[in-house]
Assembly symmetry: C2
Amino acid sequence: MSNIPKIVILGAGYGGILTAQRLQKELNYNEADVTLVNKHDYHYFTTHLHMPAAGTDHMENARVSISKLIDEFKIDFVKATVSQIRTQEKKVLLEDGSALSYDYLVISVGGETETFGIPGMKEYAMSIRSINSVRMIRQHIEYQFASYKQDESRLDRLTFVVGGAGFTGIEFVSELADRMPELCKQYDVDPSLVKIYNVEAAPTALPGFDAELVEYAMNVLQNKGVTFKIGTPIKEATPEGVIVGEGELIKSATVVWAAGIRGNRIVEEAGIETMRGRVKIDDYLRVPGQDNIYVIGDNSLMFNPEGRPYPPTAQIAMQQGVTCANNIVAAIRNQQPVKFVFSNKGTVASLGKGEAIGIVGTKKFKGFTAAQLKKMIDIRYLFIIGGIPLVLKKGKFL
Amino acid sequence: MSNIPKIVILGAGYGGILTAQRLQKELNYNEADVTLVNKHDYHYFTTHLHMPAAGTDHMENARVSISKLIDEFKIDFVKATVSQIRTQEKKVLLEDGSALSYDYLVISVGGETETFGIPGMKEYAMSIRSINSVRMIRQHIEYQFASYKQDESRLDRLTFVVGGAGFTGIEFVSELADRMPELCKQYDVDPSLVKIYNVEAAPTALPGFDAELVEYAMNVLQNKGVTFKIGTPIKEATPEGVIVGEGELIKSATVVWAAGIRGNRIVEEAGIETMRGRVKIDDYLRVPGQDNIYVIGDNSLMFNPEGRPYPPTAQIAMQQGVTCANNIVAAIRNQQPVKFVFSNKGTVASLGKGEAIGIVGTKKFKGFTAAQLKKMIDIRYLFIIGGIPLVLKKGKFL
């Protein structure tokens, strides 16, 4: 009936929310129908999940209702899981059996855990990837303390293994180390019995990050009781723990895999060409040859001027969201799209309470200053998506 | 060397603490050496455990350091687990290999869970009997919600079975029902999927209690969503749940057994004659034929004037503690002991927030009044053992 173009956004993560909000702002009345589809009725802050996962912050500080972020008079929200994208028919099928047609599609569904084929990893390890998985990890950790007090021979219940010393791994292990004294006190457990291992296959923690800051981070964490096993691949995860390096078994009832992310399978299943699940999009964030499909966030693959792929971060997803929305509006108005140019605002990794490391431009930060910087970044994000009210509501943890 | 008599108290529950405190008060300087032995360095309020078990109150409100309850200049405290009582040698062996000699022994170690030989009950059910077991139950419950969100086909994770509708069972099931809406909200679970069963083999809930009040209690709990299966024995506990009545399987990942208590095995292993683990003590609380050994609390068996055994309660244990201490002092001073006479102060069962039932003398209470009465009883106990400071510190939950 109507000739109004239909825009469907799949996923309300960093990229999807920014796209929706920018479209909401830019589009005129009746210029397009926008539908946002998301598995949950909330948006969550992936970069904050390491805190509730370890139990150092409340879960509710890591999510916000989507209805608080978008104007439902302007954008339709559908709570559903996408089962299939049919590019030929310009349709998205949902798990509940319904289907959405689109003229423009934004794929911002987020990535999946990549276990690199390590045997047992999918079965026996948990990963930090959603509110549901994070609630599980948090409960699992506390459950180990409660269980240990029922059978004090089970020291594996007090041993925690984090696979991967990238950003997620380091940030999680930091919170875990901060949480342990509290749990020991609560459960009457001798803190000297608790072991935290951070295992990384690469020859350094935080690969690609400034060496001086990496050393600083490792010192901070070692002082908090973390044992690093760097240059040590996990060979296998088993019901007893993990086998690392040359066959050493670390007995542990809690293995958290924080080492890899790949593109979502839904993208390759749509017949779109991918590299390890990610789409090598054009400069305008579009699937090559399919100008009406945009891919942003974890499923997109872009290269920096030196020819190296940008790592999937919240920062790049947010910037892509804004450009994506602008380019869709331009397309509707028969205007020229703009090329996406990543503007690096800097990178900060939290090391737990009062400690962090960061780089902004060429300037290095560490300790308290870096921790303050991290808080500012988090506050800035809350402000961008929800204004002052959201800062006041969710910013308490900062 | 010294001729000062040695008094050893085993267990710092209601009976043991009251004995220790009364001895501390009555004994003159150097009149006796008193040693209190307890597995933990804290005393806990067994009658309050149903709240932290369900998660409706903090664990710390259910316990207090023993050092806050006794004067360690007057009484020695030994944190140890008793492994054996050798009545011939007047010695108590501890698990750490040490031994304590006594002239007077008070056995106030508390009871053990009685599962009446129901297959699988020991292996697959939890029971409310200590701070450690209660922390486990609490974590287990929350773990089920977190796990359910990982696999929503597992409805057994949202089904909770409480075995026994006696005092502990009813009080726990009440708190559990109060806790569920909160957990559902926290984990985004549809409350209509949660099931709570209270299964009781006897033909009524709260056997022996006033029928009108029992009916009131059942109505209150049914309105909170509890399903009763009364006159229905649990035939077996399995990894899947429980088999009840004529073979019906209730699938449940959480079975809490709150139906039975028996005497501690350490007593019968000491060669003391017992009936279902309990010692039929004389009127002075002593083991027949062994005037220097007193048994109080869950391990003691006494009969009311109608010839029925008193149920093991905190109330009777406390009163026994006082009489026990008085009689030991009398024995040391070559005075006459006094007979123990139980003075029934009434009985109140909590039904969760703002609800309870109770009988004091011949007067029945229910609803808000009964709930206030329950609080008064709890406050009175805190006052007896720790004075105003303990009331202020732990009475917050009241």
